[in-house]
């Protein structure tokens, strides 16, 4: 049996021999002499012909195939599941009950072996009919399917509506009993071919007040950090020609003679999200110091190494992945990271054929581990609180005595120069950067 589930003409490959066998049995069930005795079944005020009870089905199977109760019930269930028999009382519940609940045989027109494409068009017509026939007839997932179909095959909607109307009109001309039978048959067919999907699949997420509130919350949280909205201290360099703001918030230590204290706003921002902390070089370094105290620094190092693989040169991937394995994943590695066994197994398997994303699962696992565990504890730690207390709130730049005289605008070393010098020196200036990645700046 191959993994290709569809054969040349698009039918479920494995099913055809099973379907043929099932149909042979169904036909013999309906044999006038040797088959199941069918009766009329009363449904409210209408009489439905050719119905049988669940018990009848089970008993017939026991007699015919010489099997036990349990097995007969199991086989009967399959007939219901594949739509050859459908229940009258609770049509949505496609199970067989060995009691006096009523069942009917599905018409051959709707048998699975007819290889009807069960297309979206058909389904749309069916749902449209239901909708027109009775308001509120469509249940939740059917409504969603209907809306999704309306969007997807919108170009045929005129036809869908027209067909639905026509079919309803034609069915009105039939006897009530026949009409109900037809409706039951069609309903059963669609329940088999379009079973209710899990809500996530078709769900139109509702745009409640809560979901929109996140925008408001985000804007409010970041407003003090938005220079255009609220200015910045000591001053906006573009306005005052004073680049103190940039120097104070510099990400590289290269341009500062010594490690200066960060601003309060900057340290506060690390508490907004784990990503904010990691995106700031200083924040990352502080976090690393904290993790070293907790003896879990290898997590952050591993994460960084994975980033490097993901965003680095394609040619270097195999050697980088190998390095990562030796340092972090191999049994007895010097900086072994604690990954759950399932992910570890999957990763080690993938390492046999290393590619850019082979470490993704492991990286994700460690990332969320840090996010859920180390990060919140870091925010509550003395290390962070001390830094926040010592962080400075810069004074606003004094306005120049001669406002019409412009301050001299100093140029800054180009980032391109930074690379060249580092290369010349042959030293790695940064403890946690890799050439070419964003962490350099």
């Amino acid at each position: 049996m191959t993994i290709n589930t569809l054969s040349q003409d698009g039918v479920q490959r494995q099913q055809m021999p099973c379907l043929t066998k099932m149909e042979r049995m169904i036909i013999s069930m309906q044999d006038p002499d040797m088959g199941i005795k069918l009766r009329n079944q009363r449904l409210l005020i209408t009489v439905i012909p050719h119905a049988m009870t669940g018990l009848d089905i089970v008993e017939w199977l026991i007699k015919k195939c010489s099997i036990s109760d349990e097995e007969a019930l199991h086989v009967g269930q399959l007939f219901v599941k594949y739509g050859y028999i459908y229940p009258l009382k609770e049509p949505r519940n496609l199970i067989l009950k060995a009691d006096d609940s009523s069942y009917r045989f599905q018409t051959p027109y709707y048998w699975m072996s007819t290889r009807w494409p069960a297309s979206e068009l058909d389904y749309a017509i069916y749902l449209a009919k239901k909708n027109i026939r009775k308001q509120g007839e469509l249940i939740e997932y059917e409504k969603e399917c209907y809306n999704a179909l309306h969007k997807r095959i919108n170009h045929t909607w005129d036809f869908v509506v027209m067909q639905a109307r026509e079919q309803l009109r034609a069915s009105k001309q039939r006897r009530k009993g026949d009409r109900i039978v037809l409706e039951c048959q069609e309903q059963a067919y669609w329940l088999v071919n379009r079973p209710p999907v899990s809500p996530e699949h078709y769900k139109l997420t509702t745009l409640t007040k809560n979901t929109i509130a996140i925008y408001v919350k985000y804007c409010e949280q970041y407003q003090p950090h938005d220079p255009i909205m609220q200015g910045c201290l000591p001053s906006n360099p573009w306005i005052t020609d004073d680049i103190m703001f940039w120097n104070m918030n510099s990400e590289t230590y290269k341009f500062l003679s010594e490690v200066a204290l960060p601003t309060k706003l900057r340290v506060e921002r690390w508490s907004f999200s784990f990503m904010e902390l990691l995106n700031d070089q200083m924040g990352r370094k502080e976090f690393l110091t904290y993790l070293e105290k907790e003896f879990s620094a290898e997590n952050l190092c591993f994460w960084q190494a994975c980033e490097d693989v993901r965003h680095g040169e394609t040619a270097k991937i195999p050697e980088k992945v190998d390095e990562v394995y030796k340092q972090f994943l191999a049994p007895g590695a010097s900086r072994w990271v604690n990954i759950d066994s399932k992910t570890m197994e999957k990763t080690l398997e993938g390492l046999k054929r290393p590619h850019r994303f082979v470490l993704d699962d492991a990286q994700m696992h460690i990332y969320f581990l840090m996010k859920k565990d180390s990060y919140p504890r870091y925010l509550k730690s003395e290390l962070y609180k001390n830094l926040l207390a010592r962080a400075i709130v810069p004074q606003e730049t004094k306005k120049s005595v001669f406002p019409f005289m412009r301050r001299q605008r100093h140029s800054s070393p180009s980032p391109a120069l930074a690379t060249q010098t580092a290369e010349d020196d042959g030293k790695a200036k940064y403890s946690n950067s890799n050439s070419g990645t964003a962490s350099r700046l």
Partner: protein, 421 residues
């Protein structure tokens, strides 16, 4: 046998194409006929079956559409601006041009900031790509591309290279050298190859990978060192004009907008189109993520900008005004996401309150269409590039201009007079 089916014929010759196929029972004018599924599909797509009036069917379809809207309303969908009613309105904004960068000989098409918050790379129609220290207004590097209309340019995250491309259908990466005598073009790396013009490019989190979008309707991810195509993204049915990477934790998605009026969200690993939005009435010129990554904004030729929420999978706000008639060419958010800057083809820049949906400022100052608007990485300023040219009046008499200024304006908004909530 049990059931007499009224839908008796299941296999046989189709009434339309006469081929032996499984048949579908459909109705035309109360008459049951048997078509094969292919003929049914064809007929359905033609819109009308024989003998029906458009009028009656349209009425029916309108009823169904109304029913659909009613169902939607029942889901308690709320508009963004309704929730934002309680927030304080923004005060008056005063904007001043702080720097004007002159040096391009022709229309400025694209601009990108360096992560050092003061450098800019810009490209123009005449094929020139210039790297500026916008703070001092000094030009630091200049490259002349072998083609005109360089529509895309991007600064590398490390600040050590720039990428650009346009009508040459390629994206090339130039490492920035500080040796004054060195010809930058000598070290150029040809990375991307499309079959039509390059409309937009962006480095991913490192210097090693570039994402490009093209007039050939595709986007693609490339390895810079080798020029190898890592992933291609197919799904647009017309030129793709813009793309933007998501600022997410997992860093795996991006959004693109194109001339097919669609904005598509893609998974970079698999190349799959994971979400699609089609509510604009014309080409989407620009797409940009909201800073949190939960939504993105678009600017379009239909003179509106719209905000789309990714989890709700729908449009949540439209930024438009009757007096705004020309298309928006470029959009960008302020750092907090509260303001949306949009450059328009009527030479103005409109600043929108993202939450309330109102316009808070309109900025004049360009003398031709604004082609690009970018906020600096730390949000201290935003920069706009345009198709300006200022003429020396004398020369108009001769029918041509001798002296061209093409401007890049660096604007900064004074923080407004308003009470801080």
């Amino acid at each position: 046998m049990c059931d007499q089916t009224f839908l008796a014929i299941t296999f046989g010759p189709c009434d339309n194409c006469s081929q032996n196929k499984p048949l579908m029972n459909i109705y035309l004018k109360n008459e049951p006929i048997n078509y094969c599924s292919l003929c049914v599909e064809l007929m359905a797509c033609q819109g009308l079956a024989k003998g029906e009036t458009i009028h009656t069917l349209k009425a029916e379809s309108e009823t169904l559409k109304t029913k659909l809207e009613e169902e939607r309303a029942k889901l308690h969908d709320v508009e963004l601006h309704q929730v934002a009613e309680k927030i304080e309105a923004l005060g008056q904004f005063v904007m001043k041009t702080r720097r004007t960068l002159k040096g391009h000989g022709n229309k400025v098409l694209c601009v990108d900031w360096c992560r050092d918050k003061r450098r800019i790379v810009s490209s123009s129609q005449d094929g020139k790509v210039i790297v500026w220290d916008a703070y001092t207004t000094n030009k630091e590097h200049a490259v002349t591309m072998p083609c005109t209309w360089v529509m895309a340019c991007a600064y590398a995250p490390s600040g050590c290279a720039v990428a650009c491309g346009g009508l040459d259908n390629k994206c090339s990466v130039y490492p920035l050298s500080l040796d004054k005598n060195e010809n930058l073009a000598a070290k150029k790396k040809s990375v991307a190859m499309h079959t039509n013009y390059l409309s937009s490019c962006s480095f991913t989190n490192s210097d090693m990978q570039i994402l490009t979008s093209s007039g050939d309707g595709t986007c693609a991810l490339w390895d810079v060192e080798s020029g190898q195509l890592l992933q291609s993204f197919h799904g647009h049915s017309a030129d793709v004009l813009s793309l933007n990477l998501a600022p997410s934790e997992t860093g795996n998605t991006f959004v693109s907008g194109g001339c097919d009026k669609k904005a598509n969200v893609w998974d970079m690993r698999s190349g799959q189109n994971v979400q699609s939005f089609e509510t604009h009435e014309s080409d989407i010129n620009s797409v940009k993520y909201y800073p949190s990554g939960d939504a993105f904004a678009t600017g379009s030729d239909d003179a509106t900008c719209r905000l789309y929420d990714l989890r709700a999978d729908r449009e949540v706000a439209i930024y438009s005004k009757e007096s705004i008639i020309f298309g928006a060419s470029s959009v960008d958010f302020s750092l907090s996401g509260r303001l949306l800057f949009a450059g328009y083809n009527d030479y103005t820049i409109n600043v929108w309150d993202v939450l309330k949906g109102t316009r808070v400022a309109i900025l004049f100052g360009h003398e031709n269409r604004v082609s690009t608007v970018r906020v600096s990485p730390d949000g201290t300023a935003f920069c706009s590039g345009s198709w300006d040219n200022t003429f020396d009046l004398r020369n108009i008499l001769y029918g041509f201009a001798l002296y061209w200024h093409q401007g890049l304006y660096i604007g900064v908004l004074h923080h407004p007079v308003m009470s801080v909530p």
